[in-house]
Amino acid sequence: MICRCFGKAFDLAAVGRGARETALLMLGVPDYDAYVAHVSTAHPEQTPATRDAFFTARQDARFKGGGLRCC
C-alpha cells in the first residue's frame, strides 16, 4: 500500500516492516531474514537456525557480558 504525503510516496508495508525490525532490534534481536540471507550466500553448506532457535541464541548472547544499559 502506497501513501502520498508531502509529495513523496511511502510504502506503508515497508514502513511497518521497518517498525517491526526496529522494535525487535531494541530487544537485541537482529533481522532474521538478513541472517538467513547471509548464511545461504556465505555458508551455503550450513542450514540456518530456525526463527525460534535464532531468537533464543540471540537472547542468550545479548546478556552474556551482562547486557549493559544506560542509566
Binding site: 530487544l27 533481522d31 538467513v36 556465505a42
Partner: protein, 701 residues
C-alpha cells in the same frame, strides 16, 4: 599520509540562498525563544518557548557542528566498508538501516538519568538547567557519543576499554576499568534510592511494581519453551497486563487489609531491592531479566513518545521561575552552588559518560555506512537531550511550592503539611497545607512530602500533562502511578543488568589479581562475585535510605561526579586519538569538553570532601557528628552511639570514593597528556585502526 592535509575547502559547508534563509530563520527563532525564556519575569511562561529553543538548537547543532565533526574531526568516509560489512555474520555484525539502528541506539542510551537530573536541577529555576542541557549536548554529550562511535567503527566495533588499552596503554586501560566499576556501584545505589523514595509507604506503586515480577516470569517461560519468535506479541500482552496492574493497584490501595500487605518502609524496600538484584543476576537471564528488559524498553519508548505528544498538544504553562534564589547553593534538593553542582546534577541529557560504553558496544557493529554515524551518534544524543528538556518542563509545570514540598527532605521542611507549607512559603514559594493535601489526594497517595529523587515529581508533572489530554482530574491518580511504574521498571532493569555487569567486572578483577592462580568453582565464583556487587551498591543504597537529608541530597552529586568522570575518560581518549591521527588542529572539539568536565568533576569532588558546610562537605559532616559524639550527644537520624559511629564511617567511605573518582580523572588526564605528547613527537600517524593497510586518503561524507 596525513589526512588533515587534504583540501579543507572542499569540505566546507556551502549554503544556497534558500538554505541561508531557512537556517538564518531557525537561528533567529531559536535565539528569540531563548531570549523570551531568559528575560521573562511574569507569572508563567509557555512551554512552547522551551520546545522551540531546544528544537532550533538541535537543528543547527546537527546541521553545522555535527557535519563539521563528521567531515573534519572523525573524517568519516562513506566509501570505506564498516565492520558490519567486513565481518558480516548475520548476528552481531549486520549492516542495518540507519532508522532502525537509530531506534536501537536511542533505546540503549535513554533511561532514568535524563528524567531525574533536570527535575533536581529545577530547584535553581528552569533557565540554568535548560541552558546547560542545550549547550552541553551540542558541544560535549553528542560529541562524545558520536566520536566514540566513529572511532569504534574504525576499530572493528571494539569496546571503550579495549580501545583505551590499545591507544593509551594497559595502565590507562586498568585505571578506566576501575573507574567504570566504581561508577556502577554508585549508579545502582542512586537509581535504587529513587525507586525506594517513590515506593516507600505507597501500596499502589509497590503493588504495580511487584506485579511486574509474575508478568515477567510468565513471559520468560513462554518465550523460552512455547514460542520464542513471538517476542513482540508476548511483550504487547505484557504491557497490557502492566496497565491492568496499575489499575488494580488503585483497588489494592483502597482496601486497607490489602494495602497493609504492600505498605513497606524505605529500609525494607532497600533490602528487598538488594535481594531482587541478587536473584535477577544469578538466575538464568531468560527467566526474569530479559523479559523485564523487554517490558521496560517498550514502556520507556511509549511513555517518552506520549510525553512528547502530551507536551506538544497541551503546551502547558511553566510555573517555576526562570532563576530561583537557590543558585547560591542553599537549595534544599541538593546542596552546592550553581558551579560546579548544576553541571554534575544534570549529566544524562547534556553529557553522559555511560553512553561511551553503549557507543562502543553493539551499535558500531551494525552501522551500514560510516555516513550514518552522525545521525546515530550525534542525533540520538540530541533526542535524549530532548527527553531531558521534557523532564524540565514536567518539573516546571508544578506549582513551585508543591515542587519543593515533594523534593525537600523532611529534616528541612518538617514532616507534616502545615510545617512544610509554612517553611516553603517563607522561602518565597507560596503554598497552603490544603493544596498539598489535595495534591496527595488527587494522585491517590497518603502524602507527597519528602518524595525526592525526581520520579514522583516527574510523575505529578506527567500526570498533570497527561490528564490534560486524557481523562482530566479523574485519571490523575492512574497516570501518577503509571509514571511511577514506568520509571521504577526501567530503573530495576538497570539494577539487575548492572549487577550482572558489575559481577563480571568483579570476576575479571579477581582473575587478574590472582593471575589465574586460584581456581574457584563456577557457581561459587558467580554467587561470590554477585554478592560483592550487590554489597557494593547496597551499602550506598542503605546509607542513602537512612540519611536524614533523604540520601539523594548526598548521593546524587557522587553519581554525577562519577558519570562526568567517565565522560572525561572517554573524551580524553578521543583527544589522544585525534593527536595520533595528526588532527591536532581540530582536537579542540574534544579537548574543550574534556577540560570543562575535568574542571567540574574536580571542583565538585574537592567541595564534596573539603567544604566547610556540613551539608556539602563530607569531612565537615563527619566532624560535626564526631564533636557531638564526643560530647555524648546524638544527632538525627542516629538513635544510638553505634549509629553515630556508622554515620561517621559512611562519611569516610564517601570521602574515599570521591577521592578515588578524582584520582581516576587526574590519572587519566596525565595518561592522555603523555600519549598526546608521544603522538606529537612522532611525525607519523600512530593511531591503530582496523585494516590499516586500507588507504586513509578519501575524505568527505
Amino acid at each position: 599520509m596525513d589526512m588533515s592535509s587534504s583540501p579543507h575547502q572542499a569540505a566546507r559547508v556551502r549554503l544556497g540562498v534558500s538554505g541561508a534563509l531557512i537556517w538564518g530563520g531557525t537561528a533567529i527563532l531559536g535565539a528569540a525563544s531563548l531570549a523570551i525564556l531568559a528575560v521573562h519575569r511574569g507569572e508563567t511562561v509557555n512551554a512552547l518557548w522551551m520546545v522551540t529553543a531546544a528544537l532550533c538548537t538541535y537543528a543547527i547543532g546537527y546541521r553545522f557542528y555535527g557535519l563539521f565533526l563528521a567531515r573534519r574531526v572523525a573524517g568519516l568516509d562513506a566509501a570505506r566498508p564498516t565492520p558490519a560489512v567486513l565481518r558480516r555474520d548475520g548476528m552481531d555484525y549486520v549492516p542495518t538501516s540507519k532508522f532502525v539502528l537509530f531506534g536501537h541506539h536511542f533505546a540503549a542510551i535513554a533511561g532514568a538519568g535524563p528524567l531525574v537530573g533536570p527535575v533536581l536541577a529545577a530547584q535553581m529555576g528552569y533557565l540554568p538547567g535548560t541552558l546547560w542541557i542545550l549547550v552541553g549536548v551540542v558541544f560535549a554529550g553528542a560529541v562524545q557519543d558520536f566520536i566514540v562511535l566513529a572511532f569504534s567503527t574504525r576499530r572493528d566495533g571494539r569496546s571503550l576499554g579495549d580501545m583505551i588499552r590499545t591507544e593509551m596503554g594497559p595502565f590507562a586501560g586498568t585505571v578506566a576499568s576501575v573507574g567504570v566499576l566504581a561508577i556502577m556501584f554508585i549508579l545502582l545505589a542512586v537509581l535504587g534510592l529513587i525507586v525506594v523514595k517513590a515506593l516507600a509507604a505507597s501500596p499502589w506503586g509497590t503493588f504495580a511494581v511487584a506485579a511486574t515480577m509474575p508478568i515477567a516470569l510468565g513471559m520468560g517461560l513462554w518465550l523460552r519453551f512455547v514460542r520464542p519468535r513471538g517476542v513482540l506479541e508476548v511483550s504487547a500482552v505484557g504491557v497490557v497486563l502492566l496497565l491492568a496492574a496499575v489499575w488494580l493497584g488503585g483497588r489494592v490501595a483502597a482496601e486497607p487489609a490489602l494495602a497493609a500487605l504492600f505498605t513497606w518502609s524505605a529500609p525494607t524496600l532497600a533490602l528487598v531491592l538488594m535481594a531482587y538484584g541478587f536473584a535477577a543476576s544469578v538466575l538464568p537471564v531468560w527467566l526474569l531479566l530479559a523479559p523485564r528488559d523487554y517490558l521496560s524498553t517498550f514502556l520507556k519508548i511509549g511513555t517518552i513518545a506520549a510525553l512528547a505528544v502530551g507536551i506538544l498538544v497541551t503546551l502547558p504553562e511553566l510555573h517555576m521561575p526562570a532563576v530561583t534564589r537557590f543558585v547560591d547553593g542553599t537549595g534544599p534538593v541538593f546542596a552546592g552552588s550553581l558551579f560546579p553542582f548544576l553541571f554534575i546534577t544534570i549529566a544524562c541529557g547534556s553529557v553522559s559518560g555511560f553512553h561511551a560504553l553503549v557507543s562502543s558496544g553493539t551499535t558500531p557493529k551494525m552501522l551500514a555506512s560510516e555516513a550514518d554515524a552522525r545521525m546515530i551518534g550525534y542525533g540520538a544524543m540530541l533526542a535524549e537531550s530532548g527527553v531531558a528538556i521534557m523532564a524540565m518542563i514536567a518539573a516546571s509545570v508544578l506549582q513551585p511550592g508543591a515542587y519543593f514540598a515533594m523534593n525537600a527532605p523532611a529534616a528541612l521542611v518538617g514532616g507534616d503539611v502545615a510545617h512544610a507549607a509554612a517553611t516553603i512559603s517563607a522561602w518565597g514559594f507560596a503554598i497552603t497545607p490544603d493544596a498539598l493535601t489535595r495534591l496527595a489526594h488527587q494522585v491517590g497517595e497518603a502524602t507527597v512530602l519528602g518524595r525526592a529523587g525526581g520520579a514522583p515529581t516527574l510523575a505529578v508533572g506527567m500526570a498533570t500533562i497527561f490528564s490534560g489530554v486524557l481523562g482530566g482530574d479523574r485519571l490523575m491518580a492512574f497516570w501518577y502511578h503509571f509514571a511511577i511504574l514506568f520509571e521504577a521498571l526501567f530503573i530495576l532493569t538497570t539494577i539487575d543488568a548492572g549487577t550482572r555487569v558489575a559481577r563480571f567486572m568483579v570476576q575479571d578483577f579477581a582473575a587478574m589479581a590472582s593471575r589465574g592462580g586460584v581456581r574457584v568453582p563456577a557457581l561459587a565464583s558467580n554467587l561470590l562475585a554477585t554478592g560483592v556487587a550487590v554489597a557494593g551498591w547496597g551499602y550506598f543504597l542503605y546509607q542513602g535510605v537512612i540519611d536524614p537529608l533523604g540520601g539523594i541530597n548526598t548521593l546524587w552529586p557522587l553519581f554525577g561526579i562519577a558519570n562526568q568522570m567517565l565522560a572525561c575518560i572517554a573524551l580524553t581518549f578521543c583527544s589522544v586519538v585525534l593527536f595520533k591521527l595528526k588532527r591536532a588542529r581540530v582536537a579542540w572539539t574534544t579537548l574543550l569538553p574534556t577540560a570543562w568536565l575535568a574542571l567540574c568533576t574536580l571542583t565538585a569532588g574537592a567541595e564534596k570532601i573539603f567544604a566547610a558546610a556540613p551539608a556539602i562537605g563530607f569531612l565537615a559532616h563527619a566532624a560535626k557528628y564526631e564533636a557531638a559524639a564526643r560530647a555524648g550527644g546524638l544527632l538525627a537520624p542516629a538513635h544510638s552511639a553505634a549509629q553515630m559511629r556508622q554515620i561517621i564511617l559512611n562519611d569516610r567511605v564517601d570521602v574515599s570514593l570521591t577521592a578515588l573518582f578524582m584520582a581516576v580523572v587526574v590519572t587519566m588526564l596525565a595518561c592522555g597528556v603523555r600519549s598526546a605528547a608521544q603522538a606529537r613527537a612522532n611525525p607519523r600517524v600512530t593511531a591503530r585502526e582496523a585494516g590499516d593497510d586500507m588507504p586513509l586518503l578519501r575524505q568527505g561524507v
